[in-house]
């Protein structure tokens, strides 16, 4: 089974809120010193799912990422985890790409890769939490798409069964291949890169594709514009319950809630 996994490099989601800063003029995040960007968490789950399917059925896992030079680190990590190949879509013209342009560029890259049975993406990225680019890729490629998916069962050359999370439950869907699935974190636990993989990643040649390589029309404006990015300042207004002992504080809390008619 030939699988393509889309990965995105994002600011570390574990940056504590107190250290989170943005540059309002350029509408970008200012990463705190010493905190490197990481592979989007859901994408790691998608890659893990792809690696397991490949190990079960044979075939090849190729990762593709759109982003600036630093996105190469996310691709290297994917190879270290066990991906067979990687492609880096990198073009200054695409650096500030909106979701619609990103979807078009990644779809063009996947098309250029040739034969593919399954595209796996994270259900959303932890920076914009849009959860839409993968569905755009599927639309551009004319693939059926299911998202968010918590389980992949019964894979064959023709179909997979995907468990799609819906409100208050899930649907089991048999999906004809080729298809795209948006992977959620319930699916698996991504592996840590083994030493052998880390060495392979060091040696890996990662081709860079530009907008021209993908025959994307240059200069097409995106459809979604970021007009403003800011951090909401929040002053704590908590009343800390003080008491002689933790037990007394607990009882006092109950009294406070009763006074406020909340319990």
């Amino acid at each position: 089974m030939d699988i393509v996994v889309t990965v995105k490099q994002v600011p570390d989601p574990d940056i504590p809120p107190t250290h989170f800063r943005v540059d309002e003029a350029t509408r970008t995040v200012i990463p705190p010193a010493g905190v490197s960007p990481v592979m989007n968490g859901y994408d790691a789950h998608a890659l893990e799912a792809a690696l397991r399917l490949r190990d079960q059925l044979g075939g090849k896992v190729t990762v593709v990422s759109l982003g600036p030079d630093s996105a190469r680190d996310a691709l290297k990590r994917a190879i270290a985890m066990g991906a067979d190949a990687a492609v880096h879509v990198n073009d200054p013209a695409l650096n500030a790409a909106d979701s619609t342009t990103t979807a078009r560029a990644l779809a063009a890259a996947i098309k250029k890769l040739g034969h593919v049975d399954l595209v796996l993406s994270g259900r959303q990225a932890s920076d914009t939490d849009g959860g839409q680019v993968h569905l755009g890729i599927a639309t551009h490629l004319g693939l059926p798409a299911v998202s968010p998916v918590q389980k992949i069962d019964d894979p064959s050359a023709e179909t997979v069964v995907a468990e799609r999370i819906v409100e208050d439950g899930y649907q089991r869907l048999r999906v004809r291949l080729p298809a795209l699935l948006g992977v959620s974190s319930e699916m698996n636990e991504p592996r840590y890169p083994p030493l052998k993989g880390i060495m392979a990643a060091g040696r890996a040649q990662i081709p860079v594709w530009t907008a021209a390589d993908l025959e994307l029309e240059a200069g097409q404006p995106g459809k979604v514009q970021l007009r403003r990015l800011y951090v909401e300042t929040r002053e704590a207004s908590v009343e800390i319950i003080e008491a002689e002992s933790p037990g007394e504080a607990g009882a006092k809390l109950a009294d406070k809630l009763r006074e406020a008619r909340l319990v």
């Binding site: 639309t139 208050d168 089991r172 004809r176 979604v224 970021l226 037990g247 607990g250 009882a251 809630l257």
Partner: protein
Amino acid sequence: MPGVLVIADASGEQLAATTAELVGEGARLAQQLGGKPVTVLLAGKNVQGLASGLGQLGVEKVLVADFDGSAAPSPQWSIAAAEQAARSVQPEVILLTHAGGSRDLGATLAYRLDTGIVTDATALRVDGGELIITKPVFGGSAIAEFAISSSPSVVTLRPRAFETGEEPTPHGDPQIESLAVPAFDAAIEVLEEVREQATGGPRLKDAKVIISGGRGLGGPENWHFVDELAQILGAAVGATRAVTDAGWVSPSLQVGLTGATVAPDLYITIGISGAVQHIAGISGARNVVAINRDADANIFKYARWGVVGDWKLIVPAFTQRLKELRG
């Protein structure tokens, strides 16, 4: 006369509670856009009878796409229905709820219509004739404002972030038109649909009181402290993603960005540090209580009352006192 198209979540053969929020916000937007009409699409299985309920919300026109298959409609069918409605109504704005199947439906619909989408919006405003869409990004650490330059603007609204219609003008029975869903190449077959029944107690998203536990509880063997409190207060039980990912409790209890968005009157947290991913789900909670040993934990910034200390000593006394108070 283009206006606003609301795509209601009618899965599960009933109108989702969020429909009133979509209609309320849709009506406000339509007003700001110059008194344009609001049309609602009801697509799903056995939805015919739900249209009159929309009349009570003040909706004038409803498109009904009835799914007559034996199983539940597939995502492809829902997309085909939504696309057909959008092409026939030609709205300026399309609104969906950011929950369940509507999230990915909205995104796919936007790409089919070759237009832009912003998901999980928490506020909308019309500014100089342009729709400005506010949404939290970076897990809630920052706020972004977007504009969509193509038409229609597709937006999914965060559940419980918007008011329902104020006083719907009763229009009596809405005008109902049936919508034929065009044929498509079916690549997805619905094998089964499993709706998890809440095990007693109120449902998370409708609950007035919620007791939530985090990793600070130490392990699943301590979860009964949460359950007992919930039982005494008639509350729903919630959990952080760390806890559901660790398998202590069912994933359906997850509150946060990738779980339920809740808006209770009282939200009591035990051993929850307040990761942004969790905070994103409780922005609608009116009173947050934090019990945590770390005085610097982020959760205290969002709390009205806090107790700093070991929950193992605090919670049993809290529970006991509540028992007494409630007789």
